[in-house]
């Protein structure tokens, strides 16, 4: 899922300060599940924003509601008229949701209430860890299902660096060395020989370095020309 964190309230309040009629719009899918931008967080953020604005003597009203996904036109369309009634939408969606709304409804003024951090999953209650960088050229088959592009601080493809110690990464004792994990898993499957092959430099043209990416599936496209 896409993982995000709420921006500091001060930052949201500063973005909202010039506006009178504000909607804090929650998004109930990914960011709802990671407890950053779902309905509960939207209500909480709206309440905090109201208190903040009252304290700062900023006039206007802050309302809130949520939709299922801000990244699909169908869900936005269901509440379109309601959205048009606001001076500002503080979107608690990921960066994709904010942009989907702006592109779909040019007249809306939308600002982000979250910082989108990564793609990952909850490794334990209250902890979400990054697992995919979306590089466009998956190597998980080479590394026993553990991504060195995402989980190694240096995106290494040929084994650990000298900063790996006792299974931890040099950047922090709280971060596992991805290559130690890969090594251990290969070892348990008696596949350590796989590591001997030198992996060539990664082709980054499939990543963002090749420019913004668009996936096209001709077989499911609808011919809008008719």
């Amino acid at each position: 899922m896409i993982i995000a964190e709420r921006k500091p309230l001060e930052e949201i309040a500063a973005m909202a300060a010039p506006y009178k009629k504000i909607c804090v719009l929650g998004c109930n899918t990914c960011v709802g599940v990671c407890m950053a931008g779902g309905d509960k967080e939207a209500q909480e953020t709206a309440a905090l924003l109201r208190i903040h604005r009252k304290k700062e003597n900023v006039e206007g009203e802050v309302e809130t509601f949520s939709i299922e996904r801000q990244c699909e036109f169908e869900f936005i369309d269901e509440v379109l008229e309601r959205l048009k009634g606001y001076d500002l939408i503080v979107s608690l969606a990921c960066g994709v949701g904010v942009q989907t709304m702006v592109e779909h409804v040019q007249s809306l003024r939308v600002v982000p209430g979250l910082n989108t951090t990564s793609m990952g999953y909850p490794t334990e209650q209250g902890v979400w860890s990054e697992r995919c960088l979306g590089c466009g050229d998956c190597v998980l088959h080479l590394t026993m299902g553990i991504c060195p592009i995402t989980r190694c601080a240096k995106c290494l493809l040929n084994g650990p660096c000298g900063g790996s110690a006792e299974g931890k990464c040099e950047i922090s004792e709280d971060v596992d060395c991805a290559w130690q994990l890969i090594y251990d898993r290969l070892s348990s499957f008696e596949r350590l020989g796989d590591l001997a092959e030198i992996q060539p430099p990664k082709d980054w043209s499939t990543s963002h370095h090749g420019g913004p990416r668009t996936s096209v599936r001709e077989d499911v496209r609808i011919d809008r020309g008719e």
Binding site: K154, L157, P160, A165, S187, L192, A196, P201, K202
Partner: protein, 294 residues
């Protein structure tokens, strides 16, 4: 001087290298001083490449200064700050200016340095950089294009004999050998028995191994290194020896320890040479060599 590093490596002589660190800024006097002091006392001088991810005057600039002064430089090159275009072009420039030795490193993580806000590149790793130089030597770049004029480098890499656990590291070491590394400068070693065991393993490969000697300047530093730096183990007796040095004599004791280790490594032909890292104390390298009996 006069002999190229590659010839010295091949000569079978016990090789001694040291390293200098460029300054932060353009006041190069101290770096020039270190070059003058060391260039005729060692077989080659490494110049560090923004070590510990701290922005400084470039390694290439330091290597050019060594070259201009008649020394033999080893260009340290990390993959942290440059993409493959920049790495290749720096290698072309260095070679065109007579720099013929390169030490290929991945580089420290950006977060350990003084530009935590910067983006780490790491487009190649140390193994891939070694391979990339092979390509340049074959007159091809990484894009598959022909070069008008190739390079020839004596290629080195690093290894951490005390890595814990060691097993994942040895796979990396062997990849570096496969990728064309001709010499290795090791991470600091202090336990000569452990190092001898590493050498028993490493001897099977056709590469030269220079033991990393990092000068210990106090018991506190030794304790810090053994507790905090990945892949460094300082035995307790060395820490005690530094700790029991009379006040103001710890540095001298560190010099004696380093000299003693070098002397033993040479006398017992444990490895092919040493690489002395007297971090921030470059001026005492001649004293270390004297203590080693050079």
């Amino acid at each position: 001087m006069g002999m190229k590093f590659k010839q010295i490596l091949d000569s079978g002589k016990f090789v001694v290298t040291a390293e200098i660190a460029p300054p932060k800024g353009t006041d190069l006097e101290q770096m020039y001083h270190h070059i003058e002091l060391l260039k005729d006392k060692v077989d080659a001088l490494n110049v560090t490449d923004h070590q510990s991810s701290v922005m400084r005057f470039p390694s290439l600039g330091g290597c050019l200064a060594i070259k201009e002064r008649g020394g033999e430089p080893i260009l340290q090159m990390t993959c942290r700050d440059r993409n493959q275009i920049a790495l290749q072009s720096d290698l072309l420039l260095a070679y065109s200016r007579g720099i013929e030795n390169v030490l290929c490193l991945t580089g420290d993580a950006m977060t350990v340095g003084d530009h935590k806000q910067a983006r780490g590149i790491f487009e190649l790793d140390s193994v891939q950089l070694l391979r990339a130089i092979d390509r340049l030597e074959e007159s091809k770049d990484l894009g598959g294009n022909d070069l008008g004029g190739a390079v020839t480098y004596c290629k080195g890499a690093i290894v951490t004999p005390e890595a814990d656990p060691w097993e994942p590291q040895y796979i990396k070491f062997e990849k570096k050998v496969d990728a064309g590394a001709e010499f290795f400068q090791t991470q600091a070693i202090y336990d000569l028995d452990n190092f001898a065991r590493f050498m028993d393993y490493a001897r099977q490969f056709p590469v030269k191994i220079l033991a990393g000697i990092v000068l210990l300047t106090s018991a506190r530093m030794a304790r810090y290194m053994t507790e905090n730096v990945p892949g460094i183990f300082v035995p307790g007796d060395l820490i005690d020896e530094l700790g029991s040095a009379p006040k103001g004599r710890a540095l001298q004791t560190g010099i004696e320890i380093a000299g003693r280790m070098i002397e033993t490594l040479k006398k017992e032909a444990v490895c092919d040479g040493v690489h002395i890292m007297a971090i921030n104390r470059e001026e005492v390298v001649p004293d270390i060599l004297a203590a080693a009996g050079f």
